[in-house]
Symmetry: C2
Subunit: 267 residues, 2 copies
DNA sequence: TAGTGGTCTAGACCACGTG
DNA sequence: ACGTGGTCTAGACCACTAT
């Protein structure tokens, strides 16, 4: 459908590209200059948001997109390069470019960074404790950018590593986005939560921020994790964002870090 | 000096580039294929390691480097792009490309990610507790890739945020690399430790890995941090690496996370 | 005005995956 | 053999910084 990049007054229109004979005299030195490939990036992102290309699916080839947007292949390449760097797309040489998924091998542990002391990624099972709908508290509403008392879904669950209860999670989701989410659906689903979110609710988690503290286990929490009250736990407050930096999940986790550690790479 | 890329049997020699009339018939489908820009990247990195271009200095322009390595500007551009993405170089439009430094604004808090509850980066002062030379324990030697009983430097220090003792650090460094490092030198130095390391010892920290746990404060630690014994602390085990992924620092930190949190961004 | 990095194009060939 | 992404080149122009 929509074809050409928006042709900012500033950005050179495709047909008046840098090499062409007819230069665009208007608006050099512009305050709102945005490179062509950024505009292409935006257009591709739009197609991702709109669901034209769904997670796991292949997107049109670079030459196709170049024709569609009326730019050179190098320009869409640079756009795709950045989207791939942001984990929105995945390139596979010889095959094509695909919409990223939380089902991929490499994406599995992108958000849960708890490793065993030997450095191995132990498999874990999720035990659902609770899933109910309620009204957002002021604090949750603020973090999810909702109005106070808007509907939210609260999920509480336990993660067990090798049979040991290691992580307790409390997850808040905007109720309007996750309409059909029920305890039954959660209980029957195997695999990463985020994989289900993107498959069933069209909401793909792109990035997240975490605030990490050491806290003493409160009695209720300690009981669920089979540790004494007061035991030191990692408290992880996460906010996850989807396309357009819209927050769509607030999560508080308590991690038992005996035998396990939270891995972080600074670079 | 050294000019041309190594001309892998596989990689096209510059003069027989993809567009040239004389193709290199030898060795298509090679197991050790490495793109030209990767080789250039290696050559640039060599110049960084050797100290030809020092932290803060400007490196030759893209066209100069292209001439020097006998490749196109686009190829050195791609090499520099990656090095900039890895925080080894910093590009500044209109000025040039510079060797990254731990003195820059943006690099200041790249490794210490402790923020106040309000999200602000509070200034902190470092109080040196101890600095002495000793022989590496087996564990430290292993992590620093030294032989057991090799000389190491141990630094212990306290970080105070707004006058409150918040972080206790134990830092091990290879003694042979940090020869002239003394308590006096440490005490008089203002600013990031890593800035001094790169300025005085030519060792620039490139990346680090951290293993984070929640632990109960031991009496000695608790005393230094003005908290009761058993208080929950963040235990941060860091290994820092310099060029060529050589480990050059082992650091264990204990963080008080009341009023502060460890910030992490997942993407 | 000159030099630097930043963008854009067009075209060639290479490596990979699949028929 | 063909199509996909990946590399490489050459040349043009734009945006920014300094002189």
């Amino acid at each position: 459908m929509s074809a050409n990049p928006v042709s900012n007054a500033n950005s050179p229109a495709p047909e008046s590209g840098a090499h062409a004979s007819a230069p665009t005299p208007a608006a050099t030195t512009s305050p709102t200059f945005s490179p062509l490939y950024q505009q292409i990036k935006g257009l591709i992102t739009q197609s991702l948001v709109s669901g034209e290309w769904k997670p796991g699916e292949i997107i049109p080839s670079e030459v196709e997109l170049a024709a569609r947007y009326k730019v050179s292949q190098g320009t869409v390449r640079k756009a795709i390069d950045e989207l791939a760097a942001e984990n929105l797309l995945v390139r596979r040489q010889g095959k094509g470019t695909f919409v990223a998924t939380h089902n991929e091998e490499r994406a599995q542990f992108r958000f849960l960074r708890l490793l065993a002391d030997d450095g191995a990624e132990h498999p874990h099972v999720s035990k659902l404790l609770e899933c109910r709908r309620l009204r957002a508290s002021a604090e949750i509403a603020r973090q999810l950018e909702l109005k106070p008392a808007d509907p939210v879904v609260l999920i509480r669950r336990l993660l067990q590593f090798d049979g040991e209860s290691t992580v307790l999670d409390e997850i808040w989701l905007p109720g309007n986005v996750f309409r059909g989410l029920t305890a039954e659906r959660l209980a029957e689903y195997k695999g990463p939560l985020y994989a289900m979110f993107e498959a069933d609710f069209g909401t793909r988690m792109i990035r997240a921020t975490e605030k990490i503290r050491a806290v003493a286990a409160e009695p209720m929490v300690a009981d669920l994790l089979n540790i004494p009250a007061g035991f030191p736990l990692l408290s992880v407050d996460r906010v996850s964002y989807t396309y357009g930096d819209r927050p769509v999940e607030v999560r508080r986790g308590w991690y038992v870090t005996t035998g396990y550690y939270y891995q972080n790479d600074l670079s």
